[in-house]
């Protein structure tokens, strides 16, 4: 197992590569999903407000 | 045809009237080149070795400096709108304006470069090739630069933006321009480099006017 983490003496290069990739991709995924959630809630709130105000699809 | 000649004559006349703008480019070229020995030390061997690169990069930046006046003044005073309505195709007008830009920046830069080359120890072999490569390479820069100037018309911080957009696209010109001078210094064949510069010029002459004209139409809409 130690040999695995040691990566033939190149651990200092192999693991940071995977770490940087993981950080970059997780950041991308996280911002994407957070943005989606925000967009969903905002849209749902406004649609409810619009319906409450009586501004349906065909009315205006 | 008359419209195109008129545009060329007008742009050149304006350049002569505002001769200060054109000289600023040359002064910038001189000062920027003269800075390198201060940064690198006065070692003549080193300076001669990197002279082609310094001269080409600095000429490229100097040409970039003057791009903002390519369309901006004409856009501001409404001339551009009239030109767009004229019978001549906008693509041709853009090409002519790029030619006027080259005549007032690229050409003087190319003619001035061997003089600055002397400052860096680039004399004899290489000087002629420096002028030749700049003569063939700088029109491409004017043409690509016209796309950048047209596309950023009306943008915020358009000067920095043009540099960001244009500089990556000019890398091939830079590579073959410096390559031609380096080849001449090391007694290699210069012709392929110049041929590539010519090919880049032909390609950008064929393609960039469409992009520039399309960008100008967006700005005028």
């Amino acid at each position: 197992m130690n040999a695995f983490f040691d990566m033939g003496g190149y651990a200092a290069f192999v693991w940071p590569s995977y770490a940087v990739t993981a950080v970059g991709l997780v950041f991308l995924i996280a911002t994407t999903l957070l943005r989606q959630r925000r967009a969903r809630t905002t849209l749902a709130r406004l649609e409810a407000e619009r319906d409450a105000a009586g501004l349906g699809h065909g009315q205006r | 045809m008359n419209t195109l000649l008129g545009v060329l004559a007008r742009d050149l006349k304006l350049a002569i009237r505002q001769i200060g703008d054109a000289t600023t480019v040359l002064v910038f070229f001189t000062i920027a080149v003269a800075l390198f020995p201060f940064g690198l030390g006065p070692d003549p061997v080193l300076l001669k070795k990197i002279a082609p690169g310094i001269l080409w990069v600095t000429a490229l930046l100097a040409a970039l400096l003057s791009l903002d006046r390519l369309f901006e003044a004409d856009h501001a005073d409404g001339t551009l709108e009239q030109l767009a309505l004229s019978p001549a195709p906008l693509e041709a007008i853009v090409a002519v304006k790029a030619l006027a830009h080259w005549l007032t920046t690229g050409l003087p830069l190319a003619l001035m470069a061997p003089l600055l080359g002397i400052l860096l120890g680039l004399t004899g072999e290489g000087s002629l090739e420096l002028v030749l490569s700049l003569l063939i390479g700088t029109p491409t820069i004017s043409l690509i630069g016209a796309v950048g100037a047209a596309v950023t018309l009306g943008a915020r911080r358009s000067g920095v933006l043009v540099a960001l957009l244009i500089l990556p696209l000019t890398i091939p010109v830079l590579i073959f321009g410096v390559g031609a001078v380096d080849a001449a210094i090391t007694a290699l064949d210069v012709a392929p480099h110049l041929a590539f510069l010519g090919a880049l010029l032909a390609g950008s002459l064929a393609l960039t006017p469409w992009a520039s004209a399309a960008a100008l139409r967006l700005a005028l809409r």
Binding site: Y10, Y18, L25, R50 | T152, A155, L161, F176, A211
Partner: protein, 262 residues
């Protein structure tokens, strides 16, 4: 006015339907392909006889390079579609692809540098591939900067479409001239990242990771474009609400509002 607005969104609605059907599969495939690819790449593939264990960096570096180029192509094609057919969603695809593609490009550069240090002895070598990637990053940055440089977002979108196409035509020219410049200045053979011949035991995890990156890109892109469309809808509803309240008969009985505020 309203019918107009909803007609304009008819197409995006269709897109949302399609995207919503694809997105779960894209996430699922990303996990499957990525999981299996990582397992093979880290545990079940040989070390390179020349590069040793560092070759495992390839499984995150090379797919990033593929995606960096692939995203730019996607961006350019989407821009062309936006120009030719005025397709509303194509602009959103181009915009969101640029962000994802630029991230992949940065990841490719960083992992390439981490791979280069043990192979070349320095963090950066002006190797043709790395240099081309750096230029590609500049092209992405230019596209994004131009897109956001105008007060009128529509104008930024239209200008960015053009520069995406101009950049795309230039990519092969830049790549070719950089390679040519590289061979000219570095006649000594530098170990190329991803060698010319690749062991089949390495090819499988590499292709799996490539597939995982591609499905990840698909999922990210579709989710982002869908969010973008929802944001636009929310904005138009907010505008309609503000308009209805502001100009409603109760709030403004005398009709003074037009002249009241400049």
């Amino acid at each position: 006015m309203s019918t107009n607005v909803f007609h304009r969104y008819a197409n995006p609605t269709k897109f949302i339907g399609l995207a919503s059907a694809i997105i779960p599969f894209a996430w699922g495939l990303t996990i499957l392909l990525g999981g299996y690819g990582l397992y093979l790449g880290l545990f079940n593939s040989p070390a390179d006889y020349q590069q040793g264990e560092t070759v495992r960096i390839m499984y995150v570096h090379v797919p990033a390079a593929w995606m960096a180029l692939g995203c730019y192509t996607t961006m350019a094609i989407a821009s062309a579609i936006a120009i030719i057919w005025k397709h509303a969603v194509a602009d959103l695809i181009a915009e969101e692809t640029a962000v994802i593609g630029a991230t992949f490009t940065v990841l490719c550069l960083v992992t390439g540098s981490l791979w280069g240090q043990p192979m070349w002895g320095t963090w950066w070598v002006w190797d043709a591939r790395l240099t081309s990637m750096l230029v590609l990053l500049f092209l992405y940055l230019g596209f994004m900067a131009l897109k956001n440089a105008f007060d009128d977002p529509q104008r930024g979108t239209q200008a960015a479409r053009l520069i995406a196409l101009v950049g795309w035509i230039n990519v092969p020219i830049i790549k070719y001239s950089v390679e040519w410049w590289n061979t000219l200045h570095q006649p000594a053979a530098v170990a190329r990242l991803d060698g010319p011949t690749i062991h089949p035991d390495m090819l499988t995890p590499l292709l799996l990771m490539g597939g995982a990156y591609m499905t990840l890109f698909t999922a990210l892109l579709l989710v982002r474009v869908r969010s973008h469309i929802m944001e636009r809808r929310a904005r138009s509803i907010a505008l309609a609400l503000a308009e209805a309240r502001g100009a409603g008969p109760d709030e403004d009985p005398a009709g003074l509002r037009d002249g009241a505020t400049p």
